[in-house]
Symmetry: none
Subunit: 194 residues, 4 copies
């Protein structure tokens, strides 16, 4: 399995750095190879083509993401708490790896439709985690029964994503993680007084 060889991860990590530093359109295969300390041709021993590198970047990082999420969520009892730790950890992981944040929020979105479709496939697993929390909340009578799960998930993901993107665009100059409680509250309670 190529996935487990050292050069595989070496190239993935090089890709994140090169894309973050140079932007998606300036991340040539030769630059990634140089950053990874291998020859251009070596890339093709581990990846089908350039697109495969980018998908693998997302796959690899998102895999860790979802795994981590499931872990922290399982430790909490209520749906509200689960949602909070999910938001917190989403913010934490991207705060810790600024390059990854730039790559996922800005650069990878410049890829073509086809690549983005494949990225969305990977994303789905994360979206399912959100759906699970929502169902769980409804079952426990924490969340409204009549909300449309898909819409609620779009609200949650859209809000989190927009928040992170705004933070990245503003060059990460404020603390993202500390926004988690307010975002959490907003998602739970909405804007209205009631």
């Amino acid at each position: 399995m190529k996935r487990n060889k050292p050069k595989y991860k070496q190239i993935i990590d090089a890709a994140v750095i090169v894309i973050a530093e140079n932007g998606y359109h300036q991340a040539q295969v030769s630059k990634i190879a140089k950053q990874a300390g291998v020859a251009d041709g070596t890339i093709y021993l581990y990846f089908e083509n350039k697109e495969d590198i980018l998908i693998s970047v997302f796959h690899e990082k998102m895999g860790y993401f979802v795994e981590k999420m499931k872990e922290v969520i399982a430790e909490k009892e209520t749906a509200a708490e689960k949602l909070l730790v999910m938001i917190e950890n989403h913010f934490k992981i991207l705060s810790k790896d600024r390059n990854l944040a730039i790559v996922t929020q800005l650069e990878l979105r410049q890829s073509n439709k086809e690549l983005r479709m494949k990225i969305n496939e990977v994303l789905k697993e994360y979206l399912h985690v959100m759906d699970d929390i929502l169902h769980y909340g409804q079952e426990r009578d924490e969340f409204l029964k009549d909300i449309d799960i898909r819409l609620a998930r779009q609200m949650i993901f859209g809000t989190i994503d927009e928040t992170v993107t705004t933070w990245v665009i503003n060059e990460q100059k404020y603390d993202l993680v500390s926004l988690a409680p307010a975002v959490h509250k907003l998602l739970l309670r909405g804007c209205a007084l009631r």
Copy 2:
């Protein structure tokens, strides 16, 4: 003023069609010219360069967007109603012009960072409209006083945007406009029972 000449709009409209049908990276100037029924060189009598076409597409369409929004919002009394018509009209406009929806939600996001920065400039005006509604709601004691306006706006925009994008990715096969009330309710009330 070139902006008012018929060929200007002709080219803008051609660009939307070509980008929607072929994707951002396959929208060559020659294709746009052909679609617009003009010579390649004519494009450059009306636009500085290819990027200028794309910015102008966004500018032109978003200009209409914001104008329309301000109009329908002004007609409503409460902040809640204003928010509802904003969501409705956002969905309506993109539902009516499916090509535009594809272009704004998927294709234009593939542009490089520089172009996206310029697009963001245009977007800001729309975001201000959202801020205005939020402030207005707080003044009228419709909305919670302690919510962070920026976060709330990110929730609103993020949710709307994510909803439209999901709809476009699913090839627009369900009715977007009819989702407006549910999205509106979610944004106002959140997920929780309270």
Copy 3:
């Protein structure tokens, strides 16, 4: 005769200014038209094509050049004196019209082979003036009988031309005309002590 209409000269003069200020390759027909205060299309009522403008520039200016030369030369008795006033006037005319100097010494030489061949045709008349002086000098026993007229003319023209070009490249920052006597002496006496 178009040559005598005011717009003809207007365009010629505009061409000299535009070429001097922008360089040969940046002297577009539209710029010349603008400088001349006419529409692009009007150019083509007076000139066949762009090349025709450039040849005409040279023709028109060189016509004056040769005329002036013949005039001042006729006033002198000896071949040596004739040569001196020729050099002096060559330097004077180009010193007075700095734009023309730039155009003839630097810019017009960037034209293609074909155009330069045509320019050379125009130049020939000037070269004949030099030949005439040389023959006259040999007849009067002022000049060596055994020199090859063509080579001598190449020396005279080459030296004058190289001197003017060096002066233009050095941004005309010293007085060209005052070099005339030294150049004259060099051409007459050569470098050697004898």
Copy 4:
């Protein structure tokens, strides 16, 4: 060092041939690549851009030129002899490589101002060789002490250059090298009887 790899010289030589045969403005990169027997892209492994090819052509050939000159000049005792062998060799080198003659005398002069400035830098070394001979001649009391070195150099270079250009324009149909003694005599003795 790319300069020493075989393809580097291969491309330089191809450029000389293509420019001589097609003219400066018709010397497309693709033609040069074809003539050199490499792919278009290969050109860019050895040269920054098209201009770089042209500068390199001049640099490479002129380097040989100056080297050769210094060599033959060193072998002669008197300034007059040095001048003679310089003229002879200038004529010889260009006579032997007719394509190079066309390129240096006609085609490369069509380049833009910027490129010509860079070419002039390379030329300066050759002009210094002339200056050295002139100084040497003055020290040895072979040449007049009161001549202006720069003017004299302009005479020498202007004459040689004009002679070669005339020969190239006349399609090289007479023997250039045999003109060397007469040119030499002219430069030394001038036109006058004394």
